[in-house]
Amino acid sequence: VTLDQAKVVVAGLPKSGKTTFLAALWETVSSRYISTSLQLKSLKGDYEYLNAIRDAWADCNEVSRTPIAAERVVTMVLEDPQSHRILELHLPDPSGESFKNQWVDRTAPAAYKDFVEVASGVAVFLHPLYVEDGTLIKDAQAALVGIERPVSAIQGSDEATVPFDLSRVATQVILVELLQFIAQLRPHDNPPRVAVIVSAWDLVPVGERAAPSEWLRKNLPLLEQYLVANREAAPFKVFGVSAQGGDLKDAQNLRTFQRPTDRISVTDGQTESKDITWPVRWLI
């Protein structure tokens, strides 16, 4: 008997929700509360780590960020209950710092290249509250028209001019570059499909929550254009994912859910689901 292999690249800057997603995914596949979700058949690897982050997530405690030294790939044998397809999913839990280092240092581990070369898809994570937008002085000045505030307050002074710092570039530019790196590392100009996961979707203002793709277009237009312009080679889909279910400041309320998976919400703007395996199913 053989089974399919599926590797999904998980990419994103620090604090973009990658580990929280993985914790909620582990709970979903192993608890089997959601009949349509991917279900755990067996697991390869040390799942102590998965259990640890799942426990923190389930009790609404802060899920610790992944340091570079603790990066790993978890392997799960999963079954799709609808097609009965069984597959071995390889999913890394990378540190956001390692992606920031790719952007700054312009290098990547050879093992990352090996993984990217055969990946079925890429999950790109971003957190709506941690988007650096690279505001222009022109826009800042326009925004302050009519407000009594010295221009120097937004512009600083000559002495205070800050030299160019790669690590402070707009989030959308870095994410485009990470996707370009992935395309560069793939053989035969064959970029994989992309799921953009806007994490902490519940923190997006209600008025902007209609469709994740529209939110992306408004808030990270360079990334959205890049995805649209390359969609023939690399189809993409934008998901709004609330893996935690709410702000941890409201943890007491969140803990009232008996089934932690009931806190999860995943949307593409048309359909809403509690199945956090949906983006993974779309990628593989």
Partner: protein, 314 residues
């Protein structure tokens, strides 16, 4: 790819994790900086990429114009084109830094063009997807090279990339138009360079020439705005008279690419110019060797080679 299943359906197997960060060897990624036209390695044909050659005196606004194009795409699609990628994101970011609040700069500014010309790359694609992406390579000629090319035929012949240019974009500094003591200098700079290009046979017969009055906000908002705009109109007429029949296409534009004046939107004037720059080249004129540094083998080179093969196969 398939692998054998050894476990019973409900078993949980344990194996060591794969440490993606443990590999000793690292691979180099695209460096993202401006491209030098002098040390390139692969062959591109005339339809791919499309080359824009920006020339103007020091401080005429070349870098501002190029960085503003990039900033416009950071806000959304522009002129019905989507941003589709760039091999020089860092090159653009370096040039836009002083325009951003994060720089804490007092005035929005751009760094001066370096002594060695660099090329910036943008890949754009029409929103309607009816055409393949256009690869734009934009050469930012330093003011010093401009002056030399205007004054010396030898220097003119040494201009990088210009023989391959699909568009030569000549910038006339609006700040000089405003100043009655420097207006004629602005006229002579423009006519001098074009004369040198045409008479030295450097300008490709298929190249369109765009002449742009930059810093147009300064022209319109100065105390003698009428005189300044009249002079710009006169200069336009004069350049048409001199070169209208000498180049394959001559266009004029008035641009205030980046100004804190609220009256002028970001990239004011560029909407009239950009579609022609981004439009696919329809006719091939001559093969051109564009040598790219080895580290770009995976981006522009591959694209250019693939495109060449596609064209050759037609």
């Amino acid at each position: 790819v398939s692998a054998p299943v050894n476990e019973p359906a409900d078993a949980i197997a344990v194996a060591p994790p794969i440490d993606v960060g443990a590999a000793a060897d690292e691979i180099e990624l695209l460096d993202g900086k401006g491209l030098s036209p002098d040390d390139c390695t692969a062959i591109a044909r005339s339809s791919v990429p499309k080359v824009l050659f920006f020339a103007g005196t020091a401080n005429s606004g070349k870098t501002t114009l190029l960085s503003t194009l990039y900033m416009l795409f950071q806000r959304g699609s522009f002129c019905n084109y989507n941003f589709a990628g760039s091999a020089t994101l860092i090159g653009f970011e370096e040039r836009t830094h002083l325009s951003r609040v994060a720089s804490r700069s007092v005035y929005a500014a751009v760094p001066r063009t370096r002594h060695d010309p660099e090329m910036l790359h943008l890949r754009v694609r029409p929103i309607d997807d009816r055409h393949s992406p256009t690869e734009l390579l934009m050469c930012d000629l330093p003011g010093e090279s401009f002056r030399e090319a205007k004054d010396s035929g030898e220097a003119c012949l040494r201009l990088p990339v210009i023989r391959r240019a699909d568009h030569v974009v000549l910038l006339i500094d609006g700040e000089k138009i405003v100043d009655s003591t420097r207006r004629q200098q602005a006229r002579n700079d423009a006519t001098g360079l074009l004369t040198s290009l045409v008479l030295n046979g450097v300008l490709p017969s298929s190249s369109a020439v765009d002449i742009i009055f930059t810093k147009w906000d300064m022209v319109e908002l100065c105390s003698e705005a009428q005189k300044a705009t009249d002079f710009a109109a006169f200069l336009e007429e004069d350049l048409r008279r001199l070169f209208g029949t000498k180049v394959c296409e001559l266009r004029f534009g008035r641009v205030a690419a980046y100004t804190v004046e609220a009256k002028y939107e970001l990239g004011f004037g560029l909407k009239a110019l950009f579609p022609a720059w981004a439009a696919p080249v329809e006719r091939r004129t001559r093969p051109f060797q564009l040598r790219l540094r080895a580290r770009y083998d995976t981006s522009i080179d591959q694209y250019a080679l693939a495109a060449s093969q596609t064209v050759a196969g037609k």
